[in-house]
């Protein structure tokens, strides 16, 4: 069942009098619980598509339908609420808050998503997720004392702690070495399958495609092919 549908999405950037169309009418849908990879050469528009789908920038035209509502018609506050409660994000860099411990990073995300859990339940949830990403032994550590792989695992934990419907991952392994990249991808796959989270991921790394359920190839702002 499709949880997320992108319908004829276009994105045009204007630089002075020059108009450049980055996305030329994209259509795709994400099935619940599946991991979909967006692949393609640099400049093909895959990151732009991901950020439009995630509500981080508006489309010039088209529809982004999530749970039956077109996000393009939502106010910025409504989009923010969706991002906070229904979406999770993993970026190329972990982007952790430097003055919060690992545990506090996750508690913050629960606060932002307006979690109904009580404080002690939130702590339990944090412990559970940290165990899943094998970072429970570092819960009092600050980001500055973590390795790149550890940071990315905390970022993944932060992205799923509030049980989002959709996880957006923009090159989540690009800053990691080969072994750590595989570990992180395995972690994303296991967690999203366990928690039934739909994932849209941008990647350059072909090795990572073995962990995904479907692949969408993009070129020059258009979808070339859908492959399983």
């Amino acid at each position: 069942m499709a949880i997320f549908t992108i319908d004829e999405v276009r994105k045009t950037f204007t630089n002075g009098e020059v108009k450049e169309e980055i996305l030329k009418g994209i259509n795709l849908s994400l099935r619940e619980g599946e991991i979909t990879a967006l692949v393609g050469a640099s400049g093909s528009g895959k990151s732009t598509l991901l950020t439009i789908a995630a509500g981080l920038q508006p489309a010039s035209d088209g529809k982004v339908i999530f749970e039956g509502t077109n996000m393009i018609n939502m106010s910025s506050e409504q989009v923010r609420k969706v991002r906070a409660s229904k979406f999770g994000f993993v970026f190329q860099f972990a982007h952790l808050v430097p003055f919060l411990t690992v545990e506090e990073q996750l508690m913050l995300m629960l606060d932002v998503s307006e979690s109904k859990l009580k404080k002690h339940e939130q702590k339990k949830e944090v412990d559970k997720i940290l165990k899943l990403v094998e970072m429970d032994h570092r819960k009092n550590a600050y980001p500055s004392s973590l390795s790149g792989g550890e940071k990315q695992r905390v970022a993944i934990a932060r992205a799923i702690i509030h049980k989002p419907k959709v996880l957006f991952a923009d090159e989540p392994t690009a800053s990691l070495d080969s072994k750590r990249s595989k570990d992180v991808m395995m972690l994303i796959r296991n967690l999203t399958k366990t928690l039934n989270i739909t994932t849209l991921m941008v990647t350059h790394d072909e090795e990572m495609l073995s962990y995904v359920d479907s692949i969408i190839k993009m070129s020059d702002g258009q979808v070339l092919q859908n492959a399983v």
Binding site: T51, R80, R83, Q92, F93, H95, V97, F99, M107, S175
Partner: protein, 343 residues
């Protein structure tokens, strides 16, 4: 979660630097304000300590009290009409002490009134600062223009005019020293301004500003105080601007994961409030200690009212400074922050 406090805890040094700058600027402001108040008391306590009312001087005095001469018929009429009204004169002069040393004083004489010390002929009541110059009750003082002698009858606290201690003398003695028969001023406590032919009326503040040295002195000192307040506001704006520039990436990521812009502003305001309150508590305490240990001759007066007013102004200016610098937070695009790389 109070992320504002978490950031302060993790970046103690950074916030201590801002706090110490605010502390130093506010301490300097309190001390200069204390000096301004002290000098103002030293210059015009005689007038400042009078209740609110109206001062009258002759129109042709051109707003200069010591040029004023109030016609005795007008004076009699006003004093009989207004029970609490008092006519008085002030002139700078000298007293010779027992050792023949000249002491500068402001001679004051008045009609019968509870607002001024009324003394008999041959007597004098002085401001208590004269005690520090070795003058005691019972001492005999002289004046070169006065044929008689003055016997010191007592001292009063905080009675100064034009930085000189006040010397209350009898009207006859005053008339002999300055060879005048008319009084310079009439004061009507609590009265509204009423038109009196040949006289010009002034409120307490308006009258204080007719004292040339008072106006110039207070203007300069108040200008310093307000410059310091503005500088501290700018310091807040600059410091938070620098911190915000460093945190643009962080704000972008926080916005991307759904943190409200208002929550980021609250975080900044909390930090501003925390730093300012601590800095103000320290500077107020230290300025009060200074108030207690300041040398006796130093005119320093820092009242609770002034302290509270300045503290509120500091908080408001800190809030404005931080908010102005925080406009960047509103402009931060999550997408830009994500594309900028690691924070």
């Amino acid at each position: 979660m109070n992320i504002a406090w978490k950031e302060i805890k993790k970046n103690k040094v950074r916030f201590m630097i801002l706090g110490s700058i605010v502390f130093l600027v506010s301490l300097l402001t309190f001390i200069i304000s204390g000096l301004a108040n002290g000098l103002s008391q030293d210059n015009a306590a005689l007038i400042k300590d009078l209740p609110n009312g109206q001062f009258y001087m002759s129109k042709d005095a051109n707003e200069t009290y010591n040029m004023s001469r109030i016609d005795s018929s007008i004076q009699d009429k006003m004093l009989s009409k207004q029970k609490d009204a008092v006519a008085f004169s002030i002139q700078m002069g000298f007293l010779n002490d027992r050792a023949g040393k000249q002491q500068s004083v402001a001679f004051v004489t008045s009609t019968d009134s509870s607002l001024f010390k009324n003394v008999k002929k041959g007597e004098i009541v002085l401001d208590r600062s004269m005690e520090d110059k070795g003058i005691k009750i019972g001492d005999t003082l002289t004046n070169n223009q006065y044929s008689g002698k003055f016997i010191v009858k007592g001292f009063v606290d905080q009675r100064k005019f034009s930085h000189a201690p006040v010397a209350y003398i009898n009207m006859d003695a005053y008339k002999e020293i300055y060879r005048v028969n008319e009084m310079q001023l009439i004061f009507v406590p609590g009265g509204d301004s009423t038109q009196v032919a040949g006289l010009q009326s002034f409120s307490n503040n308006q009258f204080l500003n007719t004292i040339a040295s008072y106006k110039a002195e207070q203007m300069s000192l108040n200008m310093i105080v307000w410059f310091l307040v503005i500088i501290s506001g700018m310091l807040f704006a600059i410091f938070f601007y620098m911190m915000n520039v460093q945190k643009i990436g962080l704000y972008g990521i926080l916005k991307a994961i759904g943190v409200k812009t208002s929550a980021l502003f609250k975080m900044m305001w909390t930090q501003m409030l925390f730093i300012t309150v601590i800095a103000l508590v320290l500077s107020v305490s230290l300025s009060q200690v200074f108030n207690m240990i300041a040398p006796k001759g130093m005119p320093f007066s820092l009242t609770t009212d002034t302290t509270v007013q300045l503290s509120i102004v500091f908080l408001i200016i800190g809030f404005i400074g931080a908010t102005l610098s925080g406009i960047q937070i509103k402009k931060v695009e999550p997408l830009q922050a994500i594309q900028q790389g690691e924070i």
